[in-house]
Structures are given as structure tokens and as C-alpha cells.
Amino acid sequence: MSKLRIFRNRNLLILVPIISSLLLVVLACGGDDADTAAESSDAAAAAKPTATTAAAKPAKAAEPKAPAASDGPSGTLTAALKTVGTPIGTPGLCVPGCANEKYFYSAFDTILQWHVDGKVVPAVAESWELASDLSSFTWHIRPGIPFHTGGAGGGGKDWGEVTAEDVAFSFDQVNSNTNPESVHDVAGDMSCCYGPTTVIDTYTAETEIIAYDSRAPGWLMTNLRDSFGISSKKVYDEFGSDGMREVFVGSGPYQILEWTQGDRVVLEAVDHYRKTPDVKTVTLLEVPEEASRIAMFKAGEAHITHTSLPNVSVLEDAGGVKRLLEVSIRHIGMNPNFLEKINPKTGEKLDNPGFDPSFPWVSDPFADGCNWDVLLEVVPDEADVCDEMNNPRKVRRAMSMAIDRDALVEGLLNGLGKPGCNWAISVDNAAHKDEWCMKHDPDGARALMEEAGQGPFTIGIWVGNEPQEIHQAVSSMWEQELGITTEYHTGPFSVWQPTFVDRSFQHLVFDGEQGGMPAHYAKGREAQAWFAGGIMWSGGIPFYQRIYGNMLGESDEGKRTAMAIEFGDHEEFWDWDPTLWEEPIYTVYTGSYMDWELESTSMHTQSSNFIYPLEDITLK
């Protein structure tokens, strides 16, 4: 009798965790899941746990929707991104990176657009003129572009249409000349060259040009790289800067219904002059973990995502179709230990307190017997170059020679990229010269090191918190072939190179450049930094400083291309920034669920989003 009671009591105990676990599982599997695209899965999922399996598979998710297009936008789409960024309202408050989100999410429209063919095409402005004396841009705004009415915060209200006032407001907000508090990514870029934007009439605005920038209007006025969308002045008048952090009123083909930092963005299609989207609701989820993004893609929870290159094939095996966004040229900044002593624009002296020529790879133009002017020639006569500049050059060259680029591409990129030769001009570009390409030659490298009288040494590399595969692979090659040991410096970049205050950076940095840009565009860091006195890996090199400035001010495309080629030759001799490879940046989408024919595209690399343009997506 008592034994029975004990037995019962024991079961009581063990039943508690068992029952509660089962309860949890049932709750978990019975829950409503709005993330999977299949709306009909809800009924099935509520029944039993096993139903979730069926509901989550892509097959279910590709259930036939209402017939598309003619009836207006319909259907849902989910994308898994590394980050959804921070909602920032006023253009001027747009911290670096946020610009991409705002128009990559197709919610804000830029004044012009960059077409997939590489041309600048009308957008908010249906036409524009550059004054013959290069003193201003005139924008003719397309009438009848409505601002979003149903967006978050400002929803339900009619904010009218896009007028010159809004354009002038947006421009002036971003431009640090007109808004000194602007922290927008291109604030400084504009400050060099553009003055206030004035309203001429309802649909005409004029932007003053202080200094001609040969890359405009493509560079700052389109979605080519970082830019700014057109915001509504009325919204700003009503809500102010702070209020605009929650009110998203743009004029793009999608309006923002929700933007929760760290979690998700929900977009809804609206009628648009460019193209009314097919997909009604787009949800962007922030999923920083690549493994989770892959899992979500495989499970059909996300239809678009982005991963590192080696995992693209994993996605393709799961039914993914890859779409090329851009090619990124990876290179090693080997001379960020700045040389430039004079601001090339203003002529004032620059302070390089941290310049340290004791490193074996740093050329020292300030040593006795060295001639600074050789740095300003395209390719100097080697006899004119003093040892303190030439030997480090040979060291850099040797290090570049010791890298087996084919192995890197084969091993780290699964063969999906190709070796690169010049960071400013892609190998596929017509202006590219084969002579710029470095051949893998370990013996030659060793001979060159001997010639330079340099034995093994230690070098520092800043790796930040990104995946460090490429750094380790390259330094392994250096160690094997040349006996160079590497120290890795992690942590935020600002700890290693704070500001202009101490403008020298004694470690290598591996960087990437946009490969698809035309050769005649001045490459490298934005004009902002340059006009403030030169910075960034290649920015500290005197010859590049001059090229950059000249290219900006030169209106003839042919001449600009010639200057870029000159720099290529200069770089080939000096090896300031050995190029490693050109890697494709892909976005991957579920082929059975959607199609993505491009009508326009942005060429921004290194973006965390990879989901532009949304209005071109059609569901199957």
C-alpha cells in the first residue's frame, strides 16, 4: 500500500518536468508564425507539432498566390540580413551606413538614379542641367510624386508631393556647408564642392557648385554609393529632428511600416512612378549569425539572404539563385604610415607625428640624400631613388611576390573570384594593363629581399572583428616564404588610428574597393577626408593625392582615364597597396519563389544589405 503511494509520488515529481516540456513544445509548434511566407500554413500548424515540418518547407511556401501584377501588389517576402541598421529620420543625422539602408530599402528616392548599364538616369528629377560655367546644377523635379501616407509614425496623413522645397531641404540638411551638424556619410564630400540649394519654383531647384567634382552627379546624387534620399520638409517642420527618428516618410516604391533597430524592418508597396512593386509586404530580419541565415534560408523562412562567398554554394544547393551585386577588389594597405607633408589642396603643412620609417616596408623620403620629388613622378628612374626609399620598396614588392593569389582564390573563394592587380582599376576594365599584375615568384621574392638587405622581421596587421581568413592566409604565405612573422591587432579601428590627431597607422590593413566603377572615377576615400588633409591607405601617397585632386577637377573623361592609368603605372613601380583578388559579392534568393530581373542597380559594395532594388522582384 505504501509502496504504491511512493510509486505515485515519484511519478508525480518526474512528471512535472516532462509535462511542462511537452507543454512548451506544443505551445512552440502551435504558435502563429507570420514569418514564413505561406499564409495557409497557420491552420495546419495549429494542429500538431509535426505540421510545422511541412509548413516550414519551401515547397509549402511556394503555394500559388493570387494572380500577380494586374491586381496590384500582393504576397509577402522575407529577407535575412546581417543588420537592419538604425532608424534615423533627418538626412543630416544619418550616421555612416544608414544612407544605404534608407534607399536600399527602397523607401527613399534619390534625385537621380544609377542605371544597371552604368548611366545616370532621371529619378525624382526628370531632367537636370549642369551650368555651362560649371557653377550650378539645376534639377527639374517630376511633378506628382506623392510622399508616403501609410508609413510608420506619420501614417494616415497626407504629406503632399515632392517639391523643390523638399529637395532643397534634403540637400542642405546633408551638406555640412549648410548644416554644420550633419554627420551624414557624405557631409564632408559635399562640403568641398557644393553650396546651398535654392528653390527656383515649385518644381525647380538649383544647387550651387563651389568646386567642380568630375564624378558628379553620379557620385553623390544617385544611389551609386552613399547618398541621401529626398525627405519631406513638412514632416520635419512638424516632427523635428528627433521626431523623425520614428516617422519615416519617403517617396520610394516601398513605405516603411516598422523599423525596429536590431530586429526588423517591414515594408509595404505603394504605387510608384518608376514601377509599382509586385510584392506587397517585405520583411527584413536582422540575423547577424551567418549559420542562422543559412538555416533560415534552407527552411524557407527567408527568401533572400547574403553569406560569405564559400557558403554561397551551400545556399545554391538549397535552391538559391545568386545575383551579382558588385565586385570587390581586396588589397593590402602597405603604406598607411603617412608620408604626405602638405595638404595638396590648401598647401598648409601637415603633421605626421606617427610617421615611423624604421619599419622595413616604409619608404623614408625624409632621409639624407633622398629626393622627395621622385614621389611625384609617374615612374621614376630607379637610379634616382635613394636606398631608404628603394629598399623598403623592394621589401613590399617581395611580399607581394610571395603571395600565391591563385591559391587564395581557389582555396578561400572556392574559385569564384580572380586574382587582382590594381585596386583602382579592375582587370576587366578596358583601361587595365597586364603589366600591373604581380606574378607569384617566391624565389624572386627572396632574391629581392636579399637585394634590399632585409632579413626576417615582424609585421603588424589590423584585423578588427571581421573574419580573419584572408589575413591569416596571406601572413602564412609570408612566413613560409620570407620568414616574416605577424602580429594581429584586433579591436575597433578607432583604437589604432583615432583621428586626424595622430595620422599614422603602423600596421597593415586589408581593404576592399569597388571593382565595377569606371576607371575615370577618382577612387579611394571620399573627398571629405582628402580635402581635410589627406588620409586613408592610399591617401597619404603624394602622387595619389595629386591624381585624386586633378581627376576631381577635370571634366574630360579621356584625360581622367589617362590619369588613372598613370596611377596604375606608379603603383606598379612602388607597390604601395598590393592587390590580392577581385571577389564577387552576391545576394542569393530562392529561385522557386521569386524572380529578380534588374531594371536598375546600385553598385555599392560592402553593404550589409544586398537587397536592392526591391521593386524589381516578382513572385512566382
Binding site: 515540418t53 516550414a56 536582422e286 527552411a299 583621428t499 577626408a529
Partner: protein
């Protein structure tokens, strides 16, 4: 009694103050604190902005004065502005705190309802196979790295079997159990293990006492002995543990939220790290510290209520 509570509160505030001192010292530890306050790009800061920052941080004044400014700002609710997010720190934390709380509370509940009963069960079946099984389960829970467990769970249940979602919080209103399950399991394993072990030990000790032996000798039924006598006393250590468990959950959420893309404070802290967003990180730390302090105080009150024998030292 009230005096003791008051003393505890005062000590608590002192602890919080010292904690803030520690944080402040860290921010000034490497010289000019502005270097930590710069965004990840760190390029293109105008000398004007640099100087402005110096003014805001009162760098012209002596260090103790700077600390005074900092503390007084915090007391008034001004935790500064997040550098990366350009929004007030407190607001950012407020937005994402509920998510972490949901996850932490769910994990705590899960850990308790699995750990404690199994612990009692283990104690009453000491030496048997199930005892060893549960103790093995507990041992694993305290030995496996959380991030590894999370990754493996995602791999199996989300990627391979596709039974559960691979991450994020999900849409469902207050809570989405489907999305909560895997992160909660990952986070709850360690606490469940701790609870199991400590409940087991406590039960064993109590069952061994004279008092219980006497009761059983008198013929009181096992059931009564277990529940009325042993368990009531054995519950004290697990209760103490609860505070530590909740504290440990804070550490755990940092990792679990990262692995499962859960939009809570833990992940915010990591993002703050990589964005060198010191104000945000400091704010999160202080908030957690204050919350923990609150929990300790509440625990003291619960103690007093539960067992008048417990003396305050």
C-alpha cells in the same frame, strides 16, 4: 528588522556607486577618453567636433569633477547618447530590455521546473540509474559551452529537421513560443543543472537530519516527510541560487542572443563593443547592476518571510 533592510539598501547604493566608479575609471584608464568615443570608422572627425566632445565630457576639469558630472547626469536619467545609434542610451535600452527579460524569465522558469523536481527525484532515488542519468544531464549542462549548444541546436532543429525557426524573435505579439524555445533551452540548461544539483544535495542533507529520521521512525508517511518537512527546508539553497542563476543568465543572454539573433540587450552589448559605443555599454552594465541589486534585496525579504531562523550577520 527594518533597520537591517535599510542597512542593506544603503550598502546596495554604495555598491552601485563603487560600480560606477569602476566603470568611470575604465573609461579614463587609457588616457584621453575621446578615443573610445569615436565611431568605428574614426576618420574625418573635425577638430571642432573633437573639441566639442572634450567640452561635453568636461575634460578641462579635474577628473573627480568629471566623475561628479557623470554621476549626476546618470542619477537624473541621462545616460548619454549612444554613439553608433545616435539616440539616448536609456531609450535604446528601454526598447530592447523587454526582449531580454522575456528570454531570461522563460529560461529561468524552464530551468526551475526542470531542475528542481529532477533534483528532488534524484535525491529520493539516490544511487539508482535515473539518479546517475540526471546527474549526467546536469554535468553536461554545466560543461558544454553555451554557444556550442546553441549552434548545434540550430543546426539540428532548424537547418536539418526544420522543426523550429533558426532565430529572431518572431512576430507573435507578446511572445512567440516557437522562436523562444531553442534559445530558452540553450540558456536554461546551465541553470537547470545547477538547480538539480543543489536541490539534490539539499534534499539529501535534510533527509539525513535527526528531525527527519525521527519523523520516519515515528511512522510518518514518506509523502508527508518529503513534502512537509524535507522540501520546505531544502528549498532555501535553491532560492539563494536563484539570484545567482538570474545573474548568470545575464552573461548567458549575451551569447544566446548573439547566436539566435534575439533582439535583446545582450546582443546590444556586443554591438556596442564593436561600435566602440562606450556610453551604451556602460549604461547597460549599470542597468544590469541595479536590477541585480534589486533582486538581492527582494531575496532578503523573501528569506525573512520564509525562515525566521535565518539571521542577518
Amino acid at each position: 528588522m527594518a533597520k537591517v533592510i535599510l542597512r542593506r539598501i544603503v550598502l546596495g547604493f554604495i555598491a552601485l556607486f563603487v560600480a560606477m566608479l569602476i566603470l568611470f575609471s575604465l573609461s579614463r584608464a587609457t588616457g584621453d577618453p575621446r578615443y573610445i568615443f569615436i565611431g568605428p570608422e574614426g576618420i574625418g572627425i573635425d577638430p571642432e567636433v573633437w573639441d566639442l566632445m572634450g567640452e561635453k565630457l568636461h575634460l578641462d576639469k579635474p577628473v573627480p569633477v568629471q566623475f561628479a558630472y557623470w554621476v549626476s547626469d546618470m542619477v537624473r536619467g541621462d545616460f548619454g547618447e549612444s554613439i553608433a545609434l545616435q539616440r539616448p542610451v536609456l531609450q535604446v535600452i528601454k526598447d530592447r530590455l523587454p526582449n531580454t527579460l522575456k528570454l531570461a524569465v522563460a529560461s529561468w522558469i524552464l530551468g526551475t521546473i526542470i531542475g528542481v523536481p529532477l533534483g528532488v527525484f534524484s535525491a529520493t532515488n539516490r544511487g539508482k540509474f535515473l539518479d546517475y542519468l540526471f546527474r549526467g544531464f546536469a554535468l553536461l549542462g554545466q560543461s558544454l559551452p553555451i554557444f556550442w549548444v546553441g549552434i548545434v541546436l540550430i543546426f539540428f532543429f532548424a537547418a536539418q529537421l526544420q522543426w523550429l525557426p533558426a532565430g529572431t524573435k518572431g512576430e507573435g505579439g507578446f511572445i512567440s513560443f516557437k522562436h523562444l524555445l531553442l534559445p530558452a533551452i540553450t540558456l536554461a540548461w546551465y541553470p537547470a543543472a545547477s538547480y538539480l544539483r543543489i536541490t539534490r544535495t539539499a534534499m539529501l542533507e535534510v533527509l539525513d537530519t535527526e528531525y527527519v529520521k525521527l519523523a520516519r521512525a515515528k511512522g510518518v508517511g514518506m509523502y508527508t516527510v518529503w513534502w512537509k518537512h524535507a522540501f520546505r527546508n531544502a528549498i532555501i539553497p535553491p532560492l539563494t541560487l536563484s539570484v545567482f542563476v538570474l545573474f548568470g543568465l545575464v552573461n548567458g543572454t549575451v551569447i544566446v542572443e548573439t547566436v539566435f539573433a534575439w533582439p535583446g540587450i545582450g546582443r546590444l552589448a556586443i554591438e556596442a563593443l564593436w561600435a566602440t559605443d562606450f556610453p551604451l555599454l556602460a549604461g547597460i552594465t549599470i542597468i544590469f547592476g541595479a536590477l541585480y541589486l534589486l533582486m538581492i534585496l527582494m531575496l532578503d525579504l523573501v528569506y525573512a518571510f520564509l525562515d525566521p531562523r535565518i539571521k542577518y550577520s
